[in-house]
Amino acid sequence: MAPVGRALRHLLLASAGLLLIPLALRGAAALHPIANLQPTYLPSLEGPRERAPFDASRPAALARMQPAYVVIGDSMAGSRIDPAVFARASGESVAPLLYAGSGPAWWYLVLKNWVIASGIHPKAVFVFFRDTNLTNVMFRIDATWSLDTAALAEEDGLNEVVARRRGNTFYELRSGFDRVYASTEARRGIEPLVNEWPARAMFPYRRQREAFMLAVNERFGLDHLRPMDAADMQATEDREADFAAFVDKSQLPLMLRDAQRAGLRLVLVRVQRRPAGGQPPYQSPALQRYVRDLRAYVEARGGVLFDDTGDPAQTLDWYEDGDHLSREGRRRYTERFAERIRLQLP
């Protein structure tokens, strides 16, 4: 074993190497300047990046339209609500604000920055979700292509719940590292070099390479995935079904608070997953408890919860792939939904 003095100098040298050598990344960053690099609205999750612009046309369009009903959600809402059928059945105007592959963070931002910002006062705003999605802010939060369209330059409320959810108490420390080493910028230059070398080696010409990468993406497209993966049908895990543990780490309190302040009636619609064996999908005791707690929480804050699970009318023949409904199922669902709100939301 080395004498203490020498060992200490080696430790100091190692620490210096650890902290100083990555400064070279600043040089790499300078070689790949990014024109449109912007600070993120979710610093607890990511560093600066190029972002798509906020879609300011949406609140303006809503203000012009003054819809009676607003529907927010992902493909679960899209494959259940046919806006034309809904409008006809309810005799009211409907504004669908849908994005396939979106998650609760987007739904919250849409509610806050499009619906409430537009100043409209619809009879109800519906948010469709599955299982425990509403208390899992991380669900599809990486879908930045959708998030960006509804996010302002700063989203402190959302950022805070993301930090809480991730247990990422020290994200400012990480952001500090990113700033010191310019690692976000350097990553833009270095990461593609590492990830694209096999394609570059196999296809020296750009056009060939691009065609190949398209083929790779197609090969891993929905058509080629196992049914469970394709339909995102994995049942939610019970660890997500602890309402008390996750509600304050989610955007749900913000949604209810903002809707209440704006005088909006927020209706949360928990869709039914695909039935199996002629039965509604299994709901574990934990999940049943979760729904009870969710309902109590939502109703105490002026919201309404619809839970489709167990609805005897929603049989397997309504479904197409995974939890998505077929065209016919969608029509039937929409008509039933319009009837339901006529009775339950006078």
Binding site: S183, A201, R219
Partner: protein, 475 residues
């Protein structure tokens, strides 16, 4: 709390900063409290289980020593409670499903109860570790400890609590009881292990893991795509699990503890026996000492010996998860070991100690063993038996040219990320058996510093955008 988070780094720094200001007993109290905070960080109810396991094993061991004539009863209490807990949380549904399937095959329709509880992370590791304590006391190889605190620290020591390496009581308990001194040398080597561990997890395992996950989500993989995915998984599982071990060993050194090694460059193995001397060493030796040898080990001959091997490997497979594919994986490795041993017996030369050089003669053996290991990883990763059958019947001449190209592309991508692992393993193999220099030269120290910096830079710019849990957390 997860290892590959800034929270963990801050947690360790805080614990270390307080730890070395305390006397030995207070250090142990701090270790226990921090271990329980670490373990109960997300699900505090997990603490009930580990605390119960600790108390039962502590009392069982004390009982064995106090009333030797009843030691079998106390041993039974320890075994039943540990295996009962493990069986309930990990194997109940597997058992119920299979009973239901057997009854259904016999024409009896019953609805099996389904247990919907979360498998407590690390339960397979700490129950095995706790049992090594009571078994060693039962055998008279270890004296029962008076201090509940020391036993509790031994079982819950946070650096290795969730995914090992499983430590023997005879190795770790004396360290818990002893006065510990801060060593700059250990701090340096600990830092080295941690940096390498974080690099392996965040840069290698998580990036190749994405490739493996994509391939194993396909319902119609071609031969080339499938095996590129299996290769990616082989790299992922080694980088991931060994990363956990490195971080565990590195952070332990900062606390004045030494944990045993768990990996010794397993993809450089020349034979199945050699592989198991290099892969998950702590688990392999646990099964050797507590299952294989009590069954008769290699003292038995012929069929009995084969039975001992197969039982040990089947149980080892089942330990990994309540699913038939893990049992199959265990059986596969057991059969490989039997076949190679039989082959050696026919050829006479024995499976001797590992050679210290890496010559051309060893390359076919290493490549052959790696290929056999890949088949094993396919069984391990593919959870549906029908998919395993489909995968094993894929042939290259049915692939389209596009699929061949995609397979090559995925393989190269995974291989590119794994280059640091291969370089390290080849370097170690080439230098195996050579005495380490008594003192590290400044040149080596400089290179080490350079490597730390490069690894940290790589973590900053190449860490996967998809953060995956450590694979062995689920076991």
């Amino acid at each position: 709390m997860i290892f590959h988070s800034l929270d963990f780094v801050v947690f360790v720094v805080l614990v270390v900063a307080i730890y070395w200001r305390l006397p030995q007993r207070a250090q142990n109290v701090l270790l226990l409290v921090s271990s329980y905070v670490f373990y109960g960080y997300v699900h505090p109810w997990f603490l009930i289980l580990i605390a119960s396991s600790t108390l039962i094993d502590y009392l069982s061991a004390r009982g064995m020593e106090r009333w030797p004539e009843h030691r079998r009863r106390f041993m039974a209490v320890s075994i039943v409670s540990n295996f009962g807990m493990l069986g309930f949380f990990k194997y109940f549904n597997f058992f119920a499903d299979n009973v239901q399937a057997v009854l259904a095959a016999a024409g009896v329709q019953v609805s099996a109860p389904v247990l919907r509880v979360l498998l407590p992370v690390g339960i397979s590791f700490y129950t095995f570790q706790a049992m090594s304590y009571t078994v060693d006391v039962f055998r008279g190889e270890l004296r029962a400890r008076r201090s509940l605190l020391d036993v509790a620290v031994f079982i819950s020591f946070f650096p290795h609590l969730v995914a090992g390496p499983i430590q023997r009581a005879s190795f770790l308990l004396p360290q818990v009881e002893a006065e510990r001194r801060f060593s700059v040398h250990h701090a340096t080597t600990g830092l080295s292990l941690m940096v390498w561990g974080f690099f392996k997890k965040l840069v290698i395992a998580d990036n190749v893991g994405v490739i493996a996950n994509k391939v194993f989500a396909l319902r119609d993989p071609s031969f080339e795509i499938l095996w590129a995915g299996v290769f990616a998984f082989a790299i992922q599982i080694y980088a991931d699990f060994s990363a956990y071990t490195d971080i565990a060993r590195g952070s332990s050194r900062w606390l004045g503890f030494e944990l045993t090694e768990n990996f010794d460059h397993p993809y450089m193995a020349r034979s199945p026996a050699d592989f198991w001397r290099r892969w998950n060493i702590s688990l392999s030796t646990w099964f050797r000492d507590y299952v294989y040898i009590p069954l008769g080990g290699s003292r038995a001959t012929g069929l009995l010996w084969a039975r001992n091997i197969l039982v040990t490997f089947l149980l080892s497979g089942l330990w990994h998860g309540a699913s038939w594919n893990y049992v199959l994986w265990g059986a596969y490795h057991g059969v490989l070991l039997l076949l190679t041993r039989a082959h050696q017996m026919v050829r006479k030369p024995r499976d001797g100690p590992r050679t210290s050089d890496l010559g051309l003669r060893q390359l076919p053996q290493i490549a052959g063993m790696f290929a056999l290991t890949l088949v094993g990883w396919l069984l391990f990763r593919e959870t549906e038996l029908s998919a395993i059958v489909r995968d094993l019947t894929l042939v290259p001449w049915h692939s389209t040219p596009a699929d061949r190209q995609i397979g090559v592309y995925l393989f190269l991508l995974a291989f590119g990320y794994s280059i640091p692992l291969w370089v390290q393993s080849i370097w170690v193999e080439m230098h195996r058996g050579r005495p380490a220099p008594a003192e590290e030269s400044w040149g080596r120290a400089g290179l080490r510093a350079l490597a730390y910096g490069a690894a940290f830079a790589a973590i900053l710019v190449l860490r996967s955008r998809t953060s995956l849990d450590f694979i062995y957390f689920q076991f």
